[in-house]
């Protein structure tokens, strides 16, 4: 196989790129079919949403409102012999969040459905971490010594939107806001504290605004398909 034929078989941009770089190398079929061409998951690149698909969507809206933001500190813990007390050591920034009295959910990693309720009843600073003890409200009947422990930390009341409403787009965060029934516009927002379920809104939205939660990605895709050359936040978009 001659190099000329191989070159002619390339997409024009690849050939031009090779000429422009002036590397002096020929690029053959193996180069055109590079490692990444095979490993790149194509199925995430070619998905499209038709108008009929979008029309069948059931959109869910949620109001922008003041809500309690929570951080769930997850860690592994050991259950004592009595099956009552969970013990763990938490390091890093999360350690500062833990207080006695906080609610805890605990479950063995193998558990599919059983979640045990508990409360933090002792927090003691150690050299490199904070020792945390929590007491189960009942007795665990699971044959397990190690538990996953979620300590629920209330961070306070904030103006917030559900996390699932936010679409990350480069370094921007977008939500779709209902203008009036059936009409949605993208809105860039500034965010603060990111909780487990809700994210604090610093700018871009007002209390009472209705934002799309379930279905926001489909609206976003539909919006971009219909207006590929328009700014993402500049034009109203009608969705039925």
């Amino acid at each position: 196989m001659s190099h000329v034929n191989r070159r002619l078989g390339l997409p024009p941009c690849v050939l031009l790129a090779a000429l422009a770089v002036g590397s002096g190398h020929s690029i053959d079929d193996a180069g055109a079919q590079g490692v990444r061409d095979r490993t790149r998951p194509s199925y995430t690149r070619d998905s499209t949403v038709s108008e009929s698909q979008a029309a069948e969507l059931t959109l869910t809206l949620a109001p922008v409102a003041r809500r309690t933001l929570q951080t769930w500190v997850r860690t592994a813990a050991t259950l004592d012999a009595a099956g009552k007390t969970l013990t763990t050591c938490i390091g890093g920034p999360d350690a500062a969040l833990i207080r006695a009295g906080q609610r805890v959910r605990a479950f063995p990693p193998d558990s599919k459905a059983s979640i045990f309720q508990a409360r933090v009843d002792r927090v003691a600073a150690q050299t490199d971490c904070v020792l945390v003890e929590a007491t189960l409200s009942g007795t665990s009947n699971w044959d397990a010594a190690r538990y996953v422990m979620e300590i629920i930390v209330d961070r306070g009341q904030f103006l917030a939107v559900p996390n699932e409403a936010i679409i990350e787009e480069g370094d921007r965060q977008i939500v779709y806001v209902e203008q009036h029934s059936g009409h949605y516009v993208p809105q860039e927002l500034g965010t603060g504290l990111k909780g487990e379920l809700y994210t604090e809104v610093l700018q871009g939205l007002s209390e009472g605004d209705q934002v799309v939660t379930l279905g926001s990605f489909f609206i976003d895709a539909d919006y971009k398909l219909k207006a590929p050359d328009q700014g993402a936040t500049s034009n109203a978009h009608q969705h039925h």
Partner: protein, 405 residues
């Protein structure tokens, strides 16, 4: 069977001693009055991880017996891409490309403990040197997910990247370098704040190579990996379109030299002694050997098509040619070809890991669902069949050749 008995048996089988962490865990289990989970792996260095893309699981193969101990099923249509063990051997993490999730596996019990939603198409990943964070690259989301290994949550998503493929932390853990395959620059992440600090352009980008990543992502062959020197001082970033390796000084994050290599270099692989960086050049089916002391190419050698990786063992470099069924061998003392190993015909070879003794390679072969064990000294090959469906890669804790493609 109690934990202590099982651990003792497993220790004998694996021929290894308990690590301090596992000993502590065994102690914890004692205190739980027999209500412990079964410990299946007592020594995390005794196993090879196998990423089975199409059976959606991570399999654990015992190095001593070459038997599959077990596997952890992740879920339907997950398509795991790469797996890595935490530095303490406690966790295995993997990204499910099709599920858009990260998965955390507890190693001793071989149990899936957490699924974490991340951005689109997670593939390659890395742990910070202190083990606190696991960075998951999301090439289709153009982002990195920062997973906190204490809380096992995504604490931040770093945007602004372009098809980020591989992540390289500096030894001190202060920075991470990101190879952007959809662009011609390396991203520098401040690991303290988990923010993109800087974009380092690898070389002059002429003509249509300066394509807009937003529109021509599939046609750009940029930087797949930022390979770091042993002392952490320099980054070697190969750029596919440009046919060069940019050498970045990590002290000031500037390109101090660009080295012309063969056409379409996939990435640079660092020899274990740090003397050489080898690029596999799929555009002209060569490898370029760079002397890292002088940052210049000292050998350009013929190789095979569709090269996916390089492993170093027994004083040789083993270059995987995915579609030819051969592994090409080079003597690292003379920097000359030393033959090739025929693995088989009609195979699709993927990537390999090397054991910590630098003696044995474990090569994933996807289409025949096998792992090929290569003795680096004798070049004898043993096939381990039926490891799972479409094995995509392998991993050994503390190996110097843990990479993916």
């Amino acid at each position: 069977m109690t934990i202590s008995k099982l651990a003792a048996v497993a220790t004998v089988v694996c021929g290894a001693s308990l690590s301090p962490w596992l000993a502590a865990q065994e102690h914890d289990a004692h205190t739980a009055a027999g209500s412990a989970q079964e410990v299946k792996i007592t020594d995390p260095t005794s196993v090879v991880l196998i990423v089975n893309r199409d059976s959606n699981d991570i399999a654990f193969m015992d190095i001593a017996t070459r038997k599959i101990i077990g596997s952890v099923f992740l879920g339907n249509n997950v398509n795991p891409h790469m797996a890595m063990m935490s530095h303490d051997g406690r966790w295995v993490v993997t990204g499910g490309t099709r599920a858009n999730k990260a998965y955390i596996i507890d190693v001793p019990t071989m149990t899936l403990v957490k699924e974490i939603p991340v951005d689109f198409a997670p593939e390659h990943l890395a742990f910070s040197p202190d083990g606190r964070y696991y960075y998951q690259g999301n090439p289709d989301g153009d982002s990195i997910s920062v997973i906190d290994m204490v809380s096992l949550t995504e604490i931040k998503r770093i945007p602004g990247l372009v098809e980020p493929l591989n992540i390289t932390f500096t030894p001190d853990g202060t920075k991470a370098y990101i190879g952007n395959y959809g662009a011609h620059w390396v991203g520098v992440i401040d690991v303290t704040r988990h923010e993109l600090l800087k974009k380092i352009q690898i070389g002059e980008v002429p003509g249509v190579a300066r394509l807009d990543p937003e529109r021509y992502l599939g046609e750009i062959k940029g930087v797949s990996n930022a390979s770091i020197s042993n002392d952490g001082r320099y980054i070697y970033a190969a750029d596919g379109d440009l046919g060069i390796v940019g050498v970045i000084d990590t002290r000031n994050d500037r390109v101090v030299k660009t080295i012309r290599v063969g056409a379409d270099p996939w990435r640079a692989f660092m020899s274990h002694d740090g003397r050489y960086a080898i690029t596999v050049n799929n555009g002209d089916e060569t490898i370029s050997v760079i002397d890292t002391a002088h940052n210049e190419v000292v050998a350009t050698l013929e190789a095979g098509p569709d090269m996916t990786g390089v492993n170093f063992a027994a004083g040789k470099a083993f270059v995987i040619s995915a579609t030819s069924g051969f592994v090409y061998v080079y003597d690292m003392a003379s920097l000359k070809p030393a033959g090739r190993i025929k693995i088989g015909v009609n195979l699709q070879l993927e990537t390999a890991t090397t054991d910590t003794a630098d003696q044995t390679l474990y090569l994933a072969s996807s289409t025949d669902h096998s792992i090929y064990v290569i003795d680096a000294e004798t070049e004898a090959v043993e096939r381990i069949a039926n490891v799972g469906l479409y094995p995509w890669g392998t991993h050994i804790m503390e190996s110097k050749d843990n990479y993916c493609h």
